[in-house]
Symmetry: C2
Subunit: 231 residues, 2 copies
């Protein structure tokens, strides 16, 4: 990876697996693919289309993991499919190997649990989806309830949409803040959520409790849709 005159020569690999959450992967892709000189590649165990957690969307990987040359930036999205891979050695050893030579090893949402299962978070500060924070410590990490957590070259983001913020931080690290701001304006990332319910600290307590009660399904299962919580 080299940096020159606002353009960088950087390979970024985003790992796909069945049951990933689409926005975890596509949010960062949308930011990082606009980096001048960057190549963003989706990679998966096989060349088949990879079905996201809803079963209604599939992404086509450009490369298999075996074909993927060592990326400068490794990005692991989250999603309930992660639970099936926590002891899946082909993925875990691939993550360890890529991490050994990466400039940045990153994750979104429960992608950090896969980094943890691969032993990459041992003794490191890290974050995850707010419903999965307790699992991080069981994997040897030091859980930190922040939107983006950086420990050395390992950068982890909170749930799903936090990957967009993380990718902008990473864009700034890779190509400087002016390029990162240009990307931000290009995707008009001036968020105005219509509600203030984006974190467990600010959401109504019945909404928080509703999701807590279903955390096992939401983090590991295929039961993604929500119903109106009891008020």
């Amino acid at each position: 990876m080299s940096r020159r005159e606002g353009s960088i020569d950087v390979d970024i690999a985003i790992v796909l697996y069945p049951g990933f959450t689409a926005l975890d992967a596509v949010g960062p892709y949308e930011v990082l693919s606009r980096l001048p000189g960057a190549t963003v590649t989706f990679a998966a165990e096989t060349a088949d289309p990879v079905l996201a957690d809803t079963g209604r969307l599939a992404l086509i990987p450009a490369l298999t993991l075996a074909e993927c040359s060592r990326p400068d930036v490794l990005l692991v999205p989250g999603g309930p499919g992660q639970a099936n891979l926590m002891e899946h050695q082909p993925i875990l050893s691939w993550l360890r190997e890529m991490h050994s030579s990466s400039s940045w090893t990153t994750s979104v949402c429960t992608g950090s649990l896969l980094l943890g299962a691969a032993g990459i978070l041992e003794g490191r500060r890290a974050t995850s989806h707010w419903l999965a924070m307790d699992r991080l410590s069981r994997l040897g990490a030091i859980p930190v309830s922040e939107r983006i957590v950086c420990d050395g070259k390992v950068m982890t983001a909170a749930g799903v949409s936090a990957g967009i913020d993380m990718a902008l931080v990473l864009a700034g690290e890779l190509a400087g803040s002016v390029v990162a701001q240009t990307i931000q304006l290009g995707i008009e990332y001036d968020p105005h959520p219509p509600f203030g319910a984006g974190s467990p600290e600010t959401a109504p307590s019945n909404v928080v409790q509703y999701l807590r009660d279903r955390s096992r399904f939401l983090i590991e299962g295929d039961q993604r849709s929500v119903r109106e919580p009891d008020s």
Copy 2:
């Protein structure tokens, strides 16, 4: 479309076309697919994978436009590929037909230019990517520089990332604010952009000018990556 006990029976179609911007489609999908009882379907002219504007990501449509039954919600993403469709009657007449029976007709980013080309925005208030606002008036719309603009059943969003905000507004309209807040907390949408450059009003002037100078490429072309603007 019916609504009962926090669950709704609603068909949502997201139109794909070559050169769409992935986050325009996947952001709203990630929100709307979590609506209880909602079915989100990607539809395109043919059943082939549809390549996004970067050429590095393809989505597989579930249905062709001809197979797609009249959706309750129609969503048109933007992207430079839109420019090739402004006189493409098969898409434009399909949009008009679906709009004639939809409950909501919506767009993200330059998707509103396609709605305009189909005659759907005639005399309506609408928005688009900030670099494309002047084109809206040429299509008979009344351009409004807001993140989300609602005129009757037509809801348009500003550039790329604004589709997430719009989808949460739409989720609230379709299933009520408690369900929408539950989805927001599920995707941990508590945005903290590391820079304040998300709108032309708040971005540094050299960043704004840099993108303005390239607006033709960014809105219509395949030249998406940015370089460091002169400071």
